[in-house]
């Protein structure tokens, strides 16, 4: 292989890229925009439902609620109904809803009467939270009436898996792989557009009229594509803190991701007959590849068909490293799978583009 020819094509592509100041500026701006979006996302998970309570007999009436304070329920006491109502309306002190116990609550219960408890519920309160509050009021009343619950799922609960209470994965952390994959996929399209233009305008034929061979042309496009995708995704990774405690490991995964994105870019570029044709092919490739990143936003395990998608290993790897602090040994299978996908897709892309170029 003539490395000088490869180098010349890469230099030409970079020069074209660099000459287009608008393109460079916009690329930087998009990176900054994604970075800003990331930092606006919540970095913590609200695990506690905070309830405001008004009760002259707080020690007795609200005691039952206070007992479960550490298990996802927070209680804030207010001096008056008006204060509580105002707090609920304005969402002050993170109060999700309010409970007003009447003055003689315990006395009424003791006399066998059914006292009236007022709930202040803001618009849009989820049904499950309203159900919780009504249930809690009932349990306080039951407790004062001396009626213990027939079952006790609060204290007898068995936690399965690593208990993440207080250490839940934040929206920021969940979004990291999605942003990285999105940048890679956008670069898939950018490269495919670049390749498509060369094929459509037949400049590749002009290049191949020189001593440059197809293999060198493909190598140059591959190196340029990987370099472009990797540099952009690494910059975004730095902005959003995606390198965690194992920067080299994440860098390796991003490299394989960039190789894979470049391979898909070559495929889309080879098939696209014009800009929109290229866009459509790229979209057909990009949409399935985005699914693992979207799936990571949802709780629970992904179905098997998601796990076999090429970007799944990248998404899980980034999550495992940045959230769980996993190391090389923990995610070696994911890295291996990602590397295999990268090699296969790149080989397929190079093969398809080679045939396309040969047919010109």
């Amino acid at each position: 292989m003539n490395l000088a020819a490869v180098g010349a094509i890469i230099r030409k592509d970079f020069a074209e890229f660099g000459r287009n100041r608008f393109f460079v500026f916009i690329t930087i701006m998009v990176l900054v925009a994604w970075g800003v979006v990331y930092w606006f996302l919540p970095d913590t998970v609200q695990e506690t439902v905070t309830i405001g309570v008004v009760s002259a007999e707080l020690g007795d009436a609200a005691g039952g609620i206070g007992d479960v304070d550490a298990a996802g329920l927070g209680v804030v006491t207010f001096g008056s109904e008006a204060e509580l109502r105002s707090a609920v309306e304005e969402g002050r002190d993170d109060v999700a809803a309010g409970i007003v116990f009447p003055d003689d609550f315990s006395g009424s219960i003791a006399r066998g009467e059914a006292p009236t408890v007022t709930l202040f519920v803001p618009a849009g309160l989820p049904g499950d939270v309203e159900m919780l509050i009504e249930g809690l009021v009932g349990e306080v009343a039951y407790a004062m009436a001396g009626s213990a619950p027939p079952v006790d799922p609060i204290t007898e609960a068995v936690v399965l898996g690593t208990d993440r209470v207080g250490e839940q994965t934040s929206m920021q952390q969940q979004m990291r792989p999605l942003l990285l994959v999105m940048v890679l996929m956008v670069e898939t399209f950018a490269l495919s557009a670049l390749v498509s233009v060369e094929v459509q305008s037949r400049t590749v034929v002009a290049v191949l009229a020189t001593p440059t061979r197809v293999g060198e042309f493909l190598a140059a496009k591959g190196i340029f594509g990987v370099g472009l995708a990797l540099s952009e995704v690494v910059i975004l990774g730095l902005i959003i803190g995606a390198f965690g405690t194992s920067p080299l490991l994440v860098l390796v995964m991003l490299l394989f991701g960039a190789i894979m994105a470049t391979g898909f870019g070559l495929i889309a570029g080879a098939y696209g007959k014009d800009f929109l044709g290229t866009l459509l092919v790229a979209m057909l490739v990009m949409i399935p590849l985005m699914i693992p990143a979207f799936a990571a936003l949802f709780p629970g395990s992904s179905p098997m068909w998601v796990k076999i998608l090429p970007t799944y290993a990248l998404v899980q790897g980034v999550i495992n490293v940045t959230v769980d602090g996993s190391g090389w040994a923990d995610i070696a299978p994911a890295v291996g799978l990602l590397a295999a996908w990268g090699v296969v897709v790149m080989a397929a892309g190079a093969g398809i583009l080679r045939r396309r170029v040969a047919a010109l």
Binding site: F22, F23, I26, V30, A33, T48, V49, A71, G72, R85, V88, E89, E90, I109, A114, T116, V117, T118, L119, F120, V121, P122, A123, G124, P126, D128, E130, M131, L132, E134, G135, V137, G138, E139, Y142, P149, V151, P153, I154, E156, A157, V158, L160, G161, T162, D163, R164, V165, G166, Q168, V197, F275, L276, L279, L280, L297, F298, P299, G300, S301
Partner: protein, 356 residues
């Protein structure tokens, strides 16, 4: 300007549309976005706690649980599957109701209850499901709490669920792709392939080409906007007003699309401009999603003046009397864009003449 020639350009676009990938893209993308946003993100932001149930003895708790609103109840065949699903966080918690559970409760007993909690479930979901379980069991036991609960709604009566707040996003995609993206891409494509040169050597003028292509893009955008509103059942009984607003919005975006198509030197530049500018014109949809953000900011963006009226009518039942100020501003923006487009068209004609 010859209306006949404008009509010819327009009908040419109509005739070519069935085999145009651009039109396919303009139709498919909004439908795909509607599906994704409603089915995926709607459930993501308003997820309910998920409770798995293994009922080994036809307990009445199961039927009561399935009737709950606010908790997603899933029946699981066996305990092993339940534990696996809970551990994988496919469920927030799992409950096993053994044989004879109801009889034991009815007899005043305290039967064993296996209640599994996923380590990844958030604490509030755990307490919600635990308290709900207690209430369900008490209900089966025939107990009712010795208290009357009065629920009083307070606060913002105009609260809109996240699913409804996604409406401007869906309308945005429907209008932007058809009205902005298509005319811009078609113009750039025609300039790159020099078919525009061929058209302009006939008596057809640039203004007639722009008018014909603009009409097609506007029509497609209005149709796709109406389809999106229909899919979301968002006409609010005012289809004529909605059509008018969509038309104004489509005209505005078509003018921008034509300007972009004339200005962009190639398809990559156009794509890059769409990629960058998209963030700006999408702002009003973002600010609807997050009503806590300062709401004066989206008013600086032209798309606000047709997206916001559509949202206000669909969600709050506003009428023309409420939204006419925004619509008037939208019309003024459209009128202001025309001379800019005309200037760009003249500039583009000179550029084409120089390169012939």
């Amino acid at each position: 300007m010859s209306l006949t020639r404008v009509w010819h350009v327009f009908t040419r676009e109509i005739r070519l549309s069935p085999r145009s990938p651009w039109v396919f893209f303009a139709i498919a993308m909004p439908l795909l976005m509607t599906f994704l946003l409603t089915s995926v993100f709607g459930s993501l932001f308003e997820a309910s706690p998920r409770l798995g149930l293994v009922d080994e003895g036809s307990s009445a708790v199961t039927a009561a649980a399935q009737a709950l609103e606010g908790v997603d109840v899933v029946l699981v065949s066996d305990v092993a599957t339940l534990k696996r699903d809970v551990e994988a966080h496919d469920l927030d918690a799992g409950l096993v109701l053994p044989t004879g559970f109801d009889d034991s409760i009815a007899a005043g007993g305290h039967p064993d209850l296996a209640f599994y909690v996923s380590g990844e479930s958030i604490a509030s979901n755990r307490i919600i499901l635990a308290v709900t379980t207690i209430e369900l069991v008490r209900g089966v036991a025939g107990e009712s709490p010795p208290v009357d609960v009065v629920v009083t709604s307070v606060g913002d009566e105009n609260y809109v669920p996240i699913g409804d707040r996604l409406l401007p996003t869906m309308v945005y995609y429907a209008v932007i792709i058809a009205a902005l993206f298509i005319p811009a891409a078609v113009l750039v494509d025609e300039r790159e392939k020099r078919t525009l040169d061929a058209v302009l050597v006939t008596p057809t003028k640039m203004s007639e080409v722009l008018a014909g292509e603009g009409m097609f893009a506007t029509l497609l955008a209005v149709v796709m906007g109406l389809a999106t509103l229909a899919l979301n059942d968002a006409f609010a009984g005012q289809p004529v007003l909605m059509t008018l607003i969509l038309f104004i919005g489509a005209v505005m975006m078509t003018l921008v699309g034509l300007m972009l198509g004339l200005w962009a030197k190639d398809i990559n530049t156009m794509y890059t401009a769409v990629k960058a500018g998209g963030i700006f014109v999408f702002l009003p949809a973002i600010f609807v999603l997050f009503p806590g953000l300062p709401q004066w900011i989206p008013k600086l963006v032209p798309t606000y003046y047709f997206l916001q009226p559509i949202y206000d009518i669909a969600i709050f039942g506003h009428t023309f009397g409420d939204v006419w100020p925004e619509l008037l501003i939208a019309v003024v923006i459209c009128i202001a864009l025309v001379p800019i487009l005309a200037a760009l068209a003249r500039w583009s004609e000179r550029q084409l003449a120089m390169t012939v």
